[in-house]
Amino acid sequence: MQMELFQAIANMSGANFAQHLVNGISLGSLYALIAIGYTMVYGILLMINFAHGDIVMMACYFAFFGITIFHIPWYITFVGVIIATALLGAIIERTAYRPLRDAPKNSVLISAIGASFLLENLANYLFSGRPMRFPNIPLLSQNISFGSVQIQAISFVIPVITILSLVVLLHIVNHTKIGMAMRAVSKDYEIARVMGVNIDNVISTTFIIGSALAAIGAFMWGVKYPGITPMLGVMPGLKCFIAAVIGGIGNIKGAVIGGFILGLGEIMIVAFFPQLSGYRDAFAFILLIIILFYKPTGLLGEKITEKV
């Protein structure tokens, strides 16, 4: 194994490595954007929003309909997709999670699984299971050459957009009133309620922000990986949840770090060990189990002690 690794490194030129690095960073940025949605919801409601991956999938379909079917310019569609997806996130919260606010955790979990399953089946029914092609946006999907290496423009755009979104998000969370309410609810749900924080509003806002970020991620995901199917969101969804756990669930910066670790790790494993490429999807789960075993609260998570 070690010999093979050295050989693979020796065979890899600097340019090739740079290409993998850029790919890894852009995939990591996408994971980070989606993982933030998981981590924010978990921080406040202590539940996995299983439907988050499927929200990404729906956003891809929204973009497909906007650009390919209705011929709306892509930048207007981009804004439209963000609004529509944020609305979808709020609707899911309202119908699937709010009625179960005081129910046992397992019921909420089942409801989340049900919501995810419903979105997948609905997409399959409405848009048919045939893969569709995400609209081509020449500005973003053109190749830029660096000597012998060609890299898609979107691979550079993704990290920039991710960083911008992150700055805006951190500003909202740290310096606005609703952000303060979010932090309060995530610290202590009951006390925040007693202190007069409107819990329902805060939770709705959380879902809206998370879904909007998912929409941004989905749009760029579609440009980079253009095949859209109803099951598109499942794997990224699971992996982004894992990224959020790796970083320490409930922690926004942790989610970003986790996303980058996962994205870079996946691309590099396939780059260095091509014979393992069939196991690419298993990497995330193995990493999850290792992390949970050695550091159950994730890299940046706070230590939790259970009270009786």
Binding site: L100, S107, I110, G114, A115, L118, N121, G278, F293
Partner: protein, 355 residues
């Protein structure tokens, strides 16, 4: 007295049901038999999922993975040796196992035992997790199992799947397997182990303080659950005649989730009802996938995919408005039936009072 009566009644019921399965086998066409058999197989797996999720309170979503193990053990070891070259046409079978052919019962048991062994090995790290984390880790394991199966071509024939598995669409044998699983799990639940499971479900810390070894009991529940899921998976493979990694996507687990939610988390008789309703329901919902003509007009609403939409809406409605399912954590016992026969209206009255 009462215990004796219950035992006699249960034995009579089992014999009657076995007779029914005999009748089903000789009188019905293969389509109806297949649905009935699928009901019983799903009942086994639903029961197995209820052991971890309903009784021990550990939310596991790994059932599809354990089924896959059982199904593949049956697939690999029961395909006749002579037929293997044609089944494994892309990558020849590993010579170490190419000559081994097991009788069906041994392959089923072996599949169950291998699933239990895998559950034991992965139980050590992941049973320390709780709630959502456990759910996602078990779901991840079921996907890893599927990925390994897809990639280990010389043993499992990879993505091509295994064909020519001797089929068993015989309600008598499948009924016997279901009956054994039911009796075993019922006995387990009523034993001290079962009470320990329930104690863990209600409150882990209190259970530990009462001297229950948490890890041992969780692991036991997980292994028993995996064993029956493996056996169920083996029967499933024999009912279909083929196995394919795509059969065991984690969405398969959602079927069993609906079964135990509908039947009642923590009720084995509930799981049986749930299995029958969900399997038969899914089969008869197929009319929604076919185009419908009403008064000479083609209603465009009915097209492939509607069935699964209805299925997932049912799951949602069930969780949102009918969280306890048919049985809740109660069981359908002979006592209750006797009470019901004496005064059928009392059931409804008590429900109203409980609210």
């Amino acid at each position: 007295m009462k215990k004796k009566r219950d035992l006699i009644l249960s034995v009579i019921l089992l014999i009657v049901l076995f007779g029914l399965s005999w009748l089903l086998n000789s009188e019905m066409d293969s389509y109806v038999r297949r649905i009935a058999n699928l009901c019983m197989i799903y009942a086994i797996i639903g029961l197995s999922m209820n052991v971890t999720n309903g009784f021990a309170g550990q939310f596991s979503l790994g059932q599809a993975g354990f089924m896959a193990i059982g199904a593949y053990v049956v697939g690999i070891f029961t395909v006749p040796v002579a037929a293997r070259a044609t089944v494994f046409y892309a990558v020849p079978m590993n010579p170490a196992i190419a000559g081994i052919q097991l009788p069906v019962w041994a392959a089923l048991l072996g599949g169950g035992l291998l699933a239990a062994l895998v559950a034991f090995l992965i139980g050590a790290p992941i049973l320390r997790l709780k709630g959502d984390y456990l759910a996602i880790a078990t779901l991840g394991f079921s996907e890893i199992i599927r990925i390994v199966i897809t990639n280990a071509s010389s043993i499992t024939n990879g993505a091509l799947g295994i064909k020519d598995i001797p089929t068993l669409n015989d309600a008598r044998y499948i009924f016997l397997a279901t009956a054994i699983a039911f009796v075993f799990i019922a006995a387990l639940i009523n034993s001290s182990y079962g009470r320990a499971f329930k104690a863990i479900r209600e409150d882990e810390i209190a259970a530990e303080a009462m001297g229950i070894n948490l890890y041992k009991h969780k692991c036991l529940a997980f292994m028993i659950s995996a064993f029956f899921a493996g056996v169920g998976g083996g029967l499933y493979a024999m009912l279909l005649g083929t196995v394919d990694p795509k059969n065991f996507l984690f969405t398969l687990t959602y079927n069993f989730l609906l079964i135990i939610v509908l039947g009642g988390m923590g009720s084995i008789t509930g799981s049986m009802f749930g299995a029958i309703i969900v399997t038969a329901g899914l089969e008869y919902l197929r009319i929604f996938d076919e185009p419908l003509e009403l008064f000479g007009m083609n209603i465009p609403l009915f097209r492939p995919g509607l069935r699964m939409v209805i299925f997932s809406v049912l799951l949602m409605v069930c969780v949102l408005f009918w969280r306890h399912g048919i049985m809740g954590t109660k069981e359908l016992t002979w006592d209750r039936i006797a009470q019901f026969c004496k005064n059928p209206l009392a059931v409804f009255k008590r429900k109203g009072a409980a609210k």
